[in-house]
Amino acid sequence: MTEISVPEMSLVVLVGVSGSGKSTFARRLFTPTQVVSSDFCRGLVADDENDQAATPDAFDVLNYIVATRLRRGLLTVVDATNVQWDARKKLIDVAKAHDVLVDAVVLDVPEEVAIERNAARPDRAFGPHVVRRQSKELRRSMGKISRDGFRRVHVLRGVEEIETATLVTEKAWSDRRELAGPFDIIGDVHGCRVELETLLRTLGWRIDPDGTGATHPEGRTAVFVGDLVDRGPDSPGVLRLVMGMVGAGTALCVSGNHEQKLVHALNGRKVRVAHGLQESLDQLAAEPEEFRAAALTFMDGLISHYRLDGGKLVVAHAGLKEAYHGRASGRVRSFALYGETTGETDEYGLPVRYPWAREYRGRAMVVYGHTPVPETEWVNNTICLDTGAVFGGRLTALRYPEREIVSVPAERVWYESVRPFGSPGHREPEVLSIEDVQGTRHIEVRHGGGHVKVREENSAAALEIMSRFAVDPRWLVYLPPTMAPPETSRLDGYLEHPAEAFAEFAAAGVTRVVCEEKHMGSRAVAVLARSPQAAAARFGVTDGTAGAVYTRTGRSFFDDTTELVDRLRRVCESLMDELGSDWLALDCELLPWSAKAEGLIRNQYASVGAAARVALPEAVAVLEAAAGRGLDVGDLLDRTRRRLVNASRFRDAYARYCWPVSGLDGVRLAPFQILACEGRATAALEPHSWHLERLSALDDPLVAPTRHVFVDLASQESMDAATGWWEALTAEGGEGMVVKPLPPEGARAQPGIKVRGREYLRIIYGPDYTESLDVLRRRFLGRKRSLALREHALGLEALSRLAEGEPLWRVHEPVFAILALESEPVDPRL
């Protein structure tokens, strides 16, 4: 019985004449979706599996399916005769283009068997000459098929071997996903043995006295990013230690370009001796032959990269773009060892590296070395650990999964760098790509689970607002979600009332809620850093700003927010101390409404008021004159008089939220939630009582308090008290209140319900809404509620990603999605 072994992620090309039993073979050993057959594709494009005229189109389709599956990393089997070299060549090219290995399985049956089988099938009308021709082509191929570019050619001879062969799949060498760590990933050592030992000890490792191994009491695994050798004082010593660790299973090591070149040199191949190679050669020459041989075997066997921890971690010497993770090809190895270059050289004659990390969008963390940097820096979930130990910098390790950087200084400059090392690095700002936001999107969210879908047209509307008006995306870490009102009240004269909000939360299993005064101003998000330096460190903003205050659509408040930001930074200093953070983000309301919305108020609200207050008195006068003539206009006259009163109440309703400001004079800010600070998405973690307590400690005339009451939903008394509080609040002209579950809510309950006051609602439903309450009660909350939940989940997702130090594009994605969802058509009065 023959066992066929193919790589787990690969292309398998079946080769055999028509009637050799390829389809039966494929059916027996692979799943139906793994097999792409030319007959099937011919049927797809021609409705006839034997229409030979459709063959070119059929192979277009076949190649497309194969390419798509390989791009997605799926084992794929091609069921076609493939007896001709050029047919196989095309498939090998597709596999190479996707950096997967390709195996051939040749099914070699006697010609007569194939002819007989075809004759028995009514749909194969072609004569025996076809099989004979294919058979001849196959025989011609067999001599050199092993040189086609297949990793391996499996040949099954005769019906029996074909029918009994079994299949196994081999894991890729790079696939060590079963290892979950914890890991200590160590940057380029370059023969700095002493520094390596110091670093390992600092990390808690115990090094064997003879320097041939090390173990960690907590069972950690070391991962070396390559470039153990060259330039430094003791490459053999480093090799001895690492070889021992790898041999004992306490370390993994990927190949660096220096190992590769050293292997070539030791194998006697002609290489240019430069970049510290000579040091290694000299040092190794002093070692016993036995060690040299062992070192050569070790270095020669190093692979290009490892995938670890379920695929969440990738280690490669020069980094690796996502499309290459877990793949195997010459160019994957070349990328992993040397990185990608632009083909240009810099002023020191060194190749200019292509900034692949800037474009990296993969979910796996990529840890690498190769290019000395003065400081390690996270770029899109990738990090370079080469801090130039051999050039007198430091030797650096990353603790995984802790994401903690540990480094030790070099004992001295062991080797002079061609390019000056240690000068402040030119920090490349993170750049967002259109692919981060455009089109229909499905965004994973951890709060509420699952994903949130954003439709393409909403993304398009948001793109315009975002790119024309929003603040720098590095500041734009959050946008406030929308909030739903309660079910409509049945109480006479009310559209909204606290009772329905309490009932909704009680039904959702919530026992305690907080009612927060709803300030009527403009929603504002304030992101504040202690200093421009802290802003640069945390947000990567290097223009000297230390914060931003922006609206619900991400637009900066006022033309210049410096004064407001500086004032708020001072106000929040003690809060930052308490939180142990150099920055924080606040959700607030900025008052008065007219400070930001004066244009809107004048254009929309005041205009309606002006028209009403000039037209209605005239209408009343005309109707009174008509009534005086004895005409029956009684109802209309009464109604018009009432509308005149409504118009004046409407005017009072908006005017209450307007007052003149000059600079910051007159401006007030009412923060009601601490969205996030260093390492913590507090909005997702802390109850509202925590937020309100800390914010009430902010003492400054600029800061307006957020009045609130806590309510026990099991107590009618408690609810009645809150209702009374709301009535008083709205009677003095307040907008209303927001009811929120006190502990961080479950996924299904609304994060908050706004209960708006009777007079305030005139701004929303129009001056005369109280005249047609019965009609207005028929309102539908479903969409609004669903939207509120989705936007809330996205907001928390953005904050969580921010707190966890995820790259800019990952934070921007859910923030952008909130703006996109806000353009969805929902009754704007809700």
Binding site: P429, V431, L432, I434, V437, Q438, N458, A460, A461, A462, L463, E464, I465, M466, S467, R468, F469, V471, D543, T551, R552, K596, G599, L600, R602, Q604, A606, S607, G609, A610, A611, A612, V614, A615, E618, A619, V622, A625, A626, R629, L631, D632, V633, L636, R643, A647, R651, A655, I764, Y765, G766, S772, L776, L819, E822, S823, E824, P825, P828, R829
Partner: protein
């Protein structure tokens, strides 16, 4: 909501015959969005007044529209329709006084045929352009006009006047003409979006005005205002985002074409403020442009008296020609217009076969729709269509689709980007897309003193306007950072003192800092 028509005809009560409405009755007429009533507050032999009062039910106004046209903006709910003399009133009037409008009256045919003394009063007429425009439109039709602006809010005197005017018209005018004039001119003066009127009604309004409109000196303004705003129907998502940001939607509208109000000839004004290029097809730039220009300048008589500026041709034409000239000189074949607006440059590029690949990018979906319409994309011959690509993109996001061109054009684009975001634009265009050449034009702020009526910047969406020195400093920074060389060129009249109205930089990839 209220319109009164009075006459001092003897006997004045003949007005009842002319209007076909009895002076002693209150008559009701159901409209789809409310009820119109006609009654007479006075009906004496010397003076008789008919009142048309339209009670708009705002809830019904919204509910009467299908779900297929969801104007999900709060403006749909809280608006002046229940109070103002808008197109709703015009439509109701046309319906209620149908016979009078046709000039028919069996019992008093001679009165219907000729002018009679009339007094028409509208307490709250929305009037974009103020009392001045109301006078300008009604006086040529033989009316004595009394128009007073209504203050926006007495409690906030600093807010100034509202867009409403209290209007009284007195004159000897044929009643049918008077009704027809109101029917057309009320919505013209209002000039806001017609989203409360079905679009076929807009067409009806146009037809009604045709007969007397021809002789009106402001006929082009009247027709333009009718047609110009119809596209607004499609902007709901944008409107919604404007509203939640406490912004006025109009203030956020994309700058499609722009030119400051100028001192000079009508031609210099030809593209006025933003909305001209947004007109629907059928309005050529020439006939609508000059009115828009004078309107924007806020003064009617400037065009004649002011000294002509050096160039009689509009600046944006000169700018396009300058860019086309540079592209030809560079021998560029594949060109991407970043911020293509309504596609004027694209059109020129497509007319020249040497440009084998022409791509237009704009962040505004609306601008792209206008470009598609202007370029007649759906009727474009296949060979030409193959050379053109149009898509939405933003200059602050890197985009693979921007790469691979000989030249990129950023014509009047950078000044619409907030200064803190310019770095991102530079990286996207010069760092990542890296075309062989980049052409950037932007206003020269020094030249602004030559625009007599300009207050502030040339367009409300401009985030800055640079002096020549500032522009050069910026360009030099870009060159140093991204490895380009740059040369500078004036566009338009190169004033010895303040330089040209538009400045242009031509970048070429490779080499160090900028030379001149």
């Amino acid at each position: 909501m209220l319109l009164t028509i009075s006459t001092t005809l003897r006997p004045a009560t003949d007005l009842g015959f002319l209007l076909h409405k009895h002076p002693d009755r209150v008559q009701e007429f159901e409209q789809s969005y409310g009820v119109a009533r006609v009654f007479y507050p006075e009906a004496g032999p010397e003076r008789c007044t008919a009142a048309l009062m339209l009670e708009v039910d705002p809830v019904r106004l919204v509910r009467s529209r299908g779900r297929s046209t969801p104007d999900y903006a709060l403006g749909q709910y809280v608006n002046d329709r229940p109070y103002a003399a808008s197109s709703l009133l015009a439509v109701a009037m046309a319906d209620v006084f149908r016979t009078a409008r046709a000039g028919r009256c069996h019992s008093r045919p001679e009165l219907a045929a000729g002018p009679i003394p009339l007094e028409i009063s509208l307490p709250a007429l929305p009037c974009r352009g103020g009392p001045e425009l109301a006078r300008r439109l009604f006086e040529p039709l033989g009316w004595e006009v009394e128009a007073r602006a209504v203050p926006l809010d007495e409690g906030f005197a600093e807010w100034g006047d509202s867009r409403y005017v209290r209007l009284s018209l007195r004159g000897e005018v044929r009643l049918a003409d008077a009704i027809n004039q109101l029917y057309v001119l009320l919505p013209v003066l209002d000039d806001s979006k017609h989203y409360w009127v079905a679009s076929d009604e807009v067409d009806k309004l146009i037809r009604a005005g045709e007969s007397w409109l021809a002789a009106h000196p402001d006929r082009s303004l009247i027709t333009r205002r009718y047609l110009g705003r119809r596209w607004a129907l499609t902007r709901t998502a944008f409107a919604r985002l404007a509203e939640i940001g406490d912004d006025v939607e109009e203030d956020l509208e994309p700058p499609v074409e722009e030119e400051p109000p100028a001192t000079g000839s009508g031609a210099e004004n030809a593209e006025g403020t933003g909305s001209t290029a947004e007109n629907t097809e059928g309005n050529t730039e020439g006939n609508t442009g000059s009115t828009e220009g004078t309107e924007g300048a806020g003064s009617v008589g400037v065009a004649e008296g002011a000294p002509a500026v050096a160039s009689a041709r509009p600046l944006n034409t000169l700018r396009r020609e300058a860019v086309l000239g540079v592209l030809a000189e560079l021998g560029a074949r594949e060109v991407i217009d970043l911020g293509c607006g309504s596609g004027q440059l694209l059109g020129e590029l497509l007319r020249r076969p040497e440009f084998t690949r022409v791509t237009g990018v704009d962040v505004s979906a609306q601008a792209l729709a206008l470009a598609a319409r202007r370029l007649k994309l759906d009727r474009m011959p296949e060979r030409q269509r193959e050379r053109l690509e149009l898509f939405q993109g933003a200059l602050t996001y890197t985009d693979k689709r921007f790469a691979g061109y000989d030249a990129a054009v950023l014509m009047e684009v950078v000044e619409h980007v907030d200064p803190p975001r310019l770095g991102a634009l530079e990286r996207v265009v010069f760092g990542v897309a890296r075309p062989g050449n980049v052409i950037v034009t932007t206003p020269n702020a020094e030249y602004n003193v030559r625009y007599e009526f300009l207050d502030g910047m040339r367009h409300q969406d401009h985030r800055f306007e640079w002096t020549r020195a500032e522009f050069r400093a910026w360009a030099a920074g870009v060159c140093g950072e991204h490895g380009y060389r740059v040369t500078f060129h004036p566009v338009g009249d190169d004033d010895p003192e303040v330089g040209p109205p538009t400045q242009m930089a031509v970048f070429a990839v490779g080499g160090g800092a900028g030379d001149d």
